[in-house]
Symmetry: C2
Subunit: 202 residues, 2 copies
DNA sequence: ACTTGTTCAAAACGATCGTTCAAAATTAAA
DNA sequence: TTTAATTTTGAACGATCGTTTTGAACAAGT
């Protein structure tokens, strides 16, 4: 009776509630634009608990990206089949971009402003860039992918996968169209076709 | 006489110094991450002058983008030759991205967090998206460009041109390579080849 | 010389920032 | 039950935020 409400409140760990609120607010208002008070209000917990559980606002941000680090750490690709590896890379990245849109938005904000916190987040994005580079270089070596500059080629693919999902604020540009289906797998196949033609694979 | 010019020169000098400092700091630390005090220190002017000359921090941001609005307002493309129009679009955008990298970074940050200030900046980016859409649709209508979803196609090209310049913090990924030549025209041609193949134009 | 209007500098405003601390509440161990 | 350890709370800290106020400095018009 009385305990029912309390149990449900306790069911969700306090740390989880803080992480969820922080992920939402950092993505929507930026790291500097989000106050610890706002996070705690959103999470329904006391102000001091961010410092107590995470050691501060910075550390809270880093904690947000730990699962992402683990995800990218265990990725691997078969470089013997570069085209297939590239497809797999794009499918994986697009899927992850759809599932973790908020983290991607936070990461992009920090990247764009070369934030000093970025150093602590490097494990969250360096691996995927290095994987992509290895795939593209293997593809060129084997004559299956064609490009002139590896730097531009990597940026080209990254631009495509990062922009794989429609940016909400730009919907007005397409407001006359029927709403596009927001499906990760479908988006990935679109990107794959455009990118593979761009690198005119055989 | 002389004083008239001096006064006008000084006046514009102060406003210009503030704009320059704000452009640099907003790009490097974000809008919320940059204090008015920091801007004025960087510009070497007194604190109150931002509110005096621009009417506040928000208005200062909007003032930064006014030249960009004018630039995009007078763009036009010949839709009768869509491939050529697309090349022209990419060359123009890449060139502008190189010349105004800081503004682009600010805009991307604000876009990623769907900032409430974005409404006032819409003239700075809506026109280019609409131009691009018109070009791609004309190209498909005339059978010269091929894609399945106009939404994905627009995002695909935008991703390519926005990522046309190497992001500084990701240089370590390519640190073993000789530094890529930082030339807008050359980058544009790279992007054009990749994108046009992606849309396999004829 | 006196007023008028504009530009700039210094100080101060109230509000909010991230963090800390002592005490209360809760849980775990004995 | 008593004790010890952990978690949560509310208040408070000093620092910094964007903006406003006040008045000095200066040029132009009367």
């Amino acid at each position: 009776m009385v305990n029912e409400e309390q149990q449900q409140a306790q069911e969700k760990d306090v740390k989880e509630k803080i992480l969820g609120a922080a992920r939402k607010l950092f993505a929507g208002k930026g790291f500097e634009g989000t106050s610890v008070r706002h996070i705690c209000d959103e999470a329904g917990v006391a102000l001091a608990l961010v410092s107590y559980h995470f050691g501060g606002k910075d550390k809270l941000l880093y904690a947000l990206f730990e699962p992402l680090n683990e995800h990218f750490a265990k990725l691997s690709f078969h470089l013997e089949e570069p085209v297939e590896a590239l497809k797999q890379f794009i499918r994986g990245f697009v899927a992850y971009r759809y599932e973790n849109e908020e983290l991607i938005h936070i990461l992009q904000q920090e990247m764009m402003m070369q934030s000093p916190r970025l150093r602590m987040l490097s494990n969250a994005y360096y691996p995927s860039w290095e994987h992509l580079r290895a795939i593209l270089e293997a593809g060129k070596r084997q004559g299956e992918l064609h490009y002139e500059s590896i730097v531009h080629a990597v940026h080209f693919v990254m631009g495509a996968v990062i922009f794989s999902r429609q940016i909400p604020f730009l919907e007005p540009v397409f407001s006359d169209l029927p709403p596009v289906e927001d499906d990760a797998a479908q988006a990935a196949e679109h990107i794959i076709r455009l990118v593979l033609h761009g690198l005119h694979s055989r």
